[in-house]
Amino acid sequence: MSESDTAALGGAGGDLILEVRDVAVHFGGIIALDGVSFEVGRGAIQGLIGPNGAGKTTLFNCLSRLYIPTSGDILFEGRSIMKTSAHRIADIGIGRTFQNLALFRTMSVLDNIMVGAHCQSKSDFVSNALRLPWVGREENSLRERAWDLIDYLELTDVAHMPVGGLPFGTQKRVELARALAAQPKILLLDEPAGGLNHDEVEELGALIKQIRDDRHITVLLVEHHMSLVMSVSDQVVAIDFGRKIGEGTPDEVRNNAEVVRAYLGTTN
């Protein structure tokens, strides 16, 4: 996608798709996030890094409305999501994956992905129980979309198997497919490389870029795997102890003294 296309897609918030403003999260006396602010440009791949316990997943949970921030504001496409309920988040265009996999274990790969498209369908209990004609049509179009993603992520051989018994790397791909099924505008990936081997990480990097380029989906990427973050990200934000400690291009962040200190510890 060219620069001009990216700009043309910009909505109410100019070319910003996500604005995190001074977000703080306190759990009792523990401060998980201490006033973090950053922005994500539409069409970007943005990395979010930080040592364990820095507050990255907490921030993701604020974005998907699983946690309510103690203070601050989050704007998606220029509009605050602070009054949006968790189940409406997928609908407005925010999709995500989870650090430790949150799949529907007993369901097949196909069904998991079809649940991903839940927010894009609307048949209710009564019309489902009676299997009205339009329910069948909706099912067919959802199934078609799910199969496209199954082909895209090379899950064809396992499509009918329950996800619970699949290898970890495969389950990660299922989760990605499930998130894509909702046709999100921004995709939050929480440590997608966790547990993958070297080759798989390389493939993942290519896939993330491909998703952005083919599907015009903005990506916010939480990752420990530095070479992956640094190779795919346009921008990187670094946080530690709930505060932002650096931000910029991968090169700038790599050379940021505070970031280096956070990762390597202080040397006297």
Binding site: L66, A90, R105, M107, D111, V115, H118
Partner: protein
């Protein structure tokens, strides 16, 4: 393999005794329906009455299974919905002289509303706590039905007599007619349940059971779905109660104690969680297993009256044996059996 569809479920291409799995399912269904239609003409009226009762229990178990098996919410209170449905029908017939067939759907709707309203506060409760809250419902219901200020409607301790409908079809006696009436209602409910669980709503129900947080993130309104599922579960069990009242020709508070809830639970677990045909196995188990236990005891102890006390011991042992040997219920056992016996084509 030229016509091989890469999107077909490979499990469907497996052969059971040389027959493709979809065909096996079709044959099972046809044989089942043929048995359900012909059996009542080959057995005694009492046996027909028992089969009718099996269907009634099966519908109740199906209702509980939609809630627990598919949606992961516990209930020890389904005797309350069964009672609510039974009394709705009995009161409509007894006090308002409405034809029995017009009372079934209203009984279901009353129980849907009851279930939905109970489901709302139950949203805050999980697992054991939900079990306790529903237990309270089961314990309170017979007392409410007995309560003297409601006696005008409920008949108090006496309950209400419900007269068995005559058969409008020549060639069917009253028992056979009632059996077919319940069979048709049950078949419609089974079809509805199957449609529910294989579509968008069913996927959402199962997703909530498997991982509520992920379900919510995928855009499922988990609170609404859980409440509606409670309502639908109540609808099924309420209709079972309505039919049960007509079959038993009588409703009284003592028919709807907490034990009835436990029976539904036993039927559901023995039949198999999250399976629709399992409900019928559950219904059969609930009705016949106490009798089988009695037979077993009299086989060993003859007619020794003191051995009567052992009937429930035998039942208990059998139940323990069942959950130990087939932890996934009879439905799970059949699935396992098929997995063992089915062969890949050409293998």
């Amino acid at each position: 393999m030229a016509s091989h569809d890469p999107r077909a479920n490979p499990a469907d291409s497996y052969l059971l005794f040389g027959i493709a799995m979809p065909k096996v399912r079709m044959i099972t269904l046809v044989v089942g329906i043929a048995l359900a239609i012909t059996l009542p003409f080959m057995v005694s009226n009492f046996a027909v009455f028992q089969m009718t009762q099996v269907l009634v229990y099966a519908i109740a178990v199906l209702g509980l299974n939609l809630l627990t098996g598919y949606n992961g919410q516990f209930s020890l209170g389904h005797s309350a919905f069964y009672a609510l449905g039974a009394y709705t029908t009995a009161i409509m017939i007894d006090r308002y002289e409405i034809e029995y067939y017009w009372t079934i759907l209203p009984a279901g709707i009353v129980c849907f509303i009851g279930g939905f309203l109970f489901g709302l506060p139950a949203l805050r409760l999980e697992g054991l706590y939900l079990a306790l809250a529903t237990f309270a419902l089961a314990v309170a219901t017979p007392q409410l039905l007995r309560y003297e200020h409601f006696e005008e409607f409920t008949g108090g301790v006496q309950g209400i007599d419900v007269f068995k409908p005559d058969s409008p079809i020549s060639g069917l006696n009253a028992d056979q007619y009632l059996y077919f009436f319940v069979l048709v209602v049950g078949a419609l409910l089974i079809l509805g349940a199957w449609n529910l669980v294989r579509g968008r709503t069913g996927r959402a129900m199962i997703a909530i059971r498997d991982n509520p947080i992920a379900a919510s993130t995928m855009g499922i309104n988990t609170s609404l779905y859980k409440s509606i599922t409670f309502g639908v579960s109540g609808f099924y069990t309420g209709i079972a109660g309505a039919l049960g009242a007509i079959v038993a020709e009588f409703v009284a508070p003592d028919s709807f104690t907490f034990f009835l809830s436990v029976w539904f639970l036993v039927g559901m677990v023995v039949g198999g969680l999250a399976s629709i045909p399992a409900a019928i196995a559950g219904g059969i188990f609930i009705l016949y297993m106490p009798n089988v236990s009695e037979e077993v005891i009299s086989l060993f102890f003859g007619n020794d009256p003191s051995a009567k006390a052992l009937i429930w011991v035998a039942f208990g042992l059998f139940l323990i044996f069942t959950v130990y040997v087939v932890p996934n219920g009879l439905a799970g056992l059949i699935r396992q059996g098929i997995a063992k016996l089915a062969r890949r084509p050409g293998a």
